[in-house]
Each structure stands twice: as structure tokens, then as C-alpha cells.
């Protein structure tokens, strides 16, 4: 019953966002602010995770490919495809659910509890449109960009680890990267990143916007938002893989 009521409220929240902005310039400013917070604010952690994921992938793949019959370029191909298909979109988005999602949830929760959302409504401002829509649009633009950056850094991290550890020479790695490359994989990864971006922005916004109580409830809402977002990301990952691959 609670689940159905939550789904209903979630749909109403999304529907309530679509209204004519009271002042386009203020909405644009809020959108740019959110782009900076979601995009630039998460860039550091995304870069660190991506480089290490790529590096670990290279070392572990090399460790498992013991047959001398398999060419070294295969390591680069496996790292490339794993990073593009799974690590960059899914793992990075799970991290972003924690970083950006908890921020969205706690920001809106704090605004709700301290009556700032009520203050917006009293001023005649559609609080859902002003507070939630720019976050969703910013996530839909910035998260796929972060995923592309994660792909590049992941592959570069793999190259760096491979050459530094003497597993694979740089020219062989580069040769492997372009061999049997399927551009559809990038399309698939970006499709996933758009779906995950929607989850990362809307679920925490929902839990934050409708929080009731005080500081404790804001914390609980943030935790719940991150947990639900992660589960939905993994679920969506499975569905999209089954449908599109």
C-alpha cells in the first residue's frame, strides 16, 4: 500500500514540475548552478574511481589470460569493453547516487524542514518546478558527460597500469583498443547513463521533497534515497542489458 502511495506521489511530483516558469532567467540560473554542483562537484571522485577501475581491470584481465595463444591485444579489448559497457555507466552512477543523490535529498529535505519550500510556495513560485526540474535536467546533461569522461579515464588508467607493470606495451594496448570496436556499445552505455541519471535525480528529490520531521528524518531520507537509487540502477541495468544487448 505504501509502495503504491509512494509511486502515486512520485508521479504527481513529476507532473507538478511541468508548469510555465515564473521567470526564465531565475530558472536558468538555478539550472546552471545544479550543472556545476552535479557535474564539477562530482568530477574529482569520478576521475579517481575511473582511473583505478581501468587499472585494476587491466591487471586482473592479464592475470586471468594465461594462455600464450591469446594475443596481448585481447587485454585492451576486454578492458575497453568492460569499462564502456559496465564500469563507466553503472559503477560511476552508483557512486553518483551516493554523492549527488544524497546531496539532492538532504538539500531538499533541509529546505522542507526549515519551511523554505513553503516560503517559495507562498511567494507564488512552483517549488517543484523551481527546485526539482533544474536538478533533473542538470543530471540528464552532466551525468552522461561524466560517464564519457569515466570511459576515457578508465581506458587510460588501464593503459597506464599495463605499461607501468610491464603487462602490456602501450602500442599493443592502443592497437587492441581499436580492434573489434563496436560503436553500439557506446550508444548502449549512454542510454544506460540517461536512465541512471533520471533515477539519481528523481528518487533523492522525491525523498527529500516529501520529508517530514527534523534533522534525523533528513538523514534517514538521504540514506533511503541512496539505497533505493542503487537498487533501481542495478535493476534498470539488468533490464536494459536484457533488452538492448
Amino acid at each position: 500500500m505504501n509502495l503504491l502511495s509512494d509511486i502515486g506521489r512520485f508521479v504527481i511530483m513529476l507532473k507538478g514540475m511541468f508548469a510555465k516558469p515564473e521567470n526564465g532567467r531565475m530558472y536558468w540560473r538555478e539550472f546552471m548552478q545544479q550543472c556545476a554542483e552535479i557535474g564539477i562537484g562530482s568530477l574529482g571522485i569520478v576521475a579517481i574511481i575511473s582511473v583505478f577501475i581501468g587499472a585494476v581491470s587491466t591487471i586482473q584481465t592479464a592475470y586471468q589470460l594465461v594462455s600464450p595463444l591469446i594475443p596481448l591485444t585481447t587485454i585492451a579489448q576486454i578492458v575497453r569493453d568492460t569499462v564502456i559497457l559496465e564500469f563507466a555507466p553503472t559503477l560511476v552512477c552508483i557512486v553518483l547516487a551516493g554523492v549527488a543523490g544524497s546531496r539532492i535529498s538532504s538539500e531538499l529535505g533541509n529546505m522542507r524542514v526549515s519551511e523554505q519550500i513553503d516560503a517559495l510556495e507562498i511567494m507564488g513560485i512552483n517549488s517543484k518546478a523551481y527546485l526539482i526540474l533544474p536538478k533533473i535536467l542538470a543530471a540528464l546533461i552532466m551525468i552522461p558527460l561524466l560517464v564519457v569522461i569515466a570511459m576515457v579515464l578508465g581506458i587510460l588508467g588501464g593503459r597506464l597500469a599495463g605499461t607501468m607493470a610491464g603487462i602490456i606495451p602501450a602500442n599493443i594496448y592502443d592497437k587492441g583498443l581499436v580492434e573489434l570496436f563496436v560503436p553500439y556499445n557506446v550508444f548502449f552505455a549512454l542510454t544506460k547513463s540517461y536512465v541512471f541519471a533520471f533515477i539519481i535525480s528523481t528518487i533523492p528529490a522525491f525523498y527529500g521533497y516529501y520529508v517530514r520531521g527534523g534533522a534525523l528524518e533528513i538523514g534517514r531520507a538521504s540514506t533511503k534515497a541512496v539505497v533505493v537509487s542503487c537498487i533501481l540502477i542495478l535493476f534498470a541495468d539488468y533490464i536494459l542489458s536484457a533488452l538492448l544487448l
Binding site: N23, Q116, D118, A119, I122, G124, N126
Partner: protein, 269 residues
Amino acid sequence: MIEVKNIQKSFNGKVIIEDLNAVMKAGQCNLIIGASGSGKTVLMKCMVGLFQPESGEILYDGTSFTQMNEEQRTAIRKDIGMLFQGSALFDSLNVEENILFPLNMFSTDTPAGKNERVNQVLERVNLPGVNKKFPSELSGGMKKRVALARAIVLNPKYLFCDEPNSGLDPQTSLVIDKLIRDITLEYNMTTVINTHDMNSVMEIGHYILYMYQGKKEWEGSNKEIIFSKNQRLNDFIFASDFLKDAKDMRMLEERGKIDPERNMDDLLK
């Protein structure tokens, strides 16, 4: 003028406001008083549209607010200012940006004109020179004054104040009360105030609505409240012996038995 007609509101089957009627006139401070849980805040939230009453009507100068669609409500909300209990200032914005926010959203004035208006309202609430400070750097009383400045920056016709004195010392409470009263008279606003503060009741209560368990128990002015025989009201307002004595003194003053300008030093000799 705001008219409240037969308002009914309940949550999870529990009636919070029952068949309540009131008329709140322009150019005066209309106080809603009552114990915690008596429905004051719910009534105010119904009046500003944050809650939808189950039945009854709220009329703003004769126009039914309860029957308006969201677009019409948005239009009338530009005439409403509200001072929240916790001030509800935007944490990420400084004082100037907080007050500029409604101006940027709705005013077509030039940036210089908007800044001038910000300084004007800050001076009006006796807070010049705090433009660049953030809410976290302000005291409770200063936050309330900034929130009041933000509430009046668009020259609203209706001002709502939810417990404006909560958490403030008696002296600052007096300053806030005086400000609200002066601004109400100056702009001829319809001001509605939720309060527990008995000093506010006696000082600025042009019209007082006393709520008891979601119903209107008593209404009148701060002059009439002194002579009220309503036991529940008297128990609530004049709860302590000190306040009972103060009431008796005020009654004697009003009836001319004691000179209001009496010299206490002479009397104590």
C-alpha cells in the same frame, strides 16, 4: 480583508479545525491565539493555501481563494507576504540575495531599482548594512527582521506571521511586534499573526481570535480581552498569578480607578 467561512480541516480522520468563521480587516493586526495543538498553524496554512480545507471558504477581498485554480492562486500570492516561525531564509543566499529573490522572480524593475528597494526595506526593519551577511551569521531577531523585509519587499496586501516572537528575548519581541504593527498601519495591510506571546496580544491585538480545540472560542480586541468572562480564555491568557494581577491593574486603569500615568515611586513611599 480576509474572510474565513465555515472552514473545516482534518488529518487522518481527526478534526483539527471545525466550522470556523472569522473576519480579518485591513490596516490592523489580527491575532490568532490558542494553546499548542489548537489548530492555529493549520488555520494559517489553510488561509495561505498550503493546506486545502475540506469545506468552507477563504475570501481575499471578496474573492474565494479556495475555489481558485493554481494559476489564479499564483497571481494572488504575489500580494501575500509571510514571516515563518523559523524565518525560512534561504541558507545559500546572503541577506541581499534573500530579499532580492522575490524581486528577481516577479519585478520588472531595473537591477539598480531592485537594489534600492532592498536597502529601503532593510532600513525599514532597522537593519542597514547587513546586505552581505549570510543567515548563519545573524541572530534570531535579525533573521526575523530580514524575513520580514523579504515578506514586505513586494508591497503585499496581506501579511502572515507565524509565531514571530518564538525564540526571541522579551526586548527583541517588542521590537518585532512594533515593526509589524507599524508596517501594517503604514501599508494598510491585512496582517494575520499566530502567537503565544501575551505581550503581543495586549500590545498589537487589534483583533484577537482565540481558538480552543479547533473551534473559535472567543473573539474581540485587546481592550475587550481584559473584561472577558470566558474562563478558558482567561486561563490561557492570564495563566500565572503575575499576569492575573497585571490584568486586574489594567482593568482598574481602563475603568479610571487608577491613574495610568501614576508615579510608582510615590506609591511605594
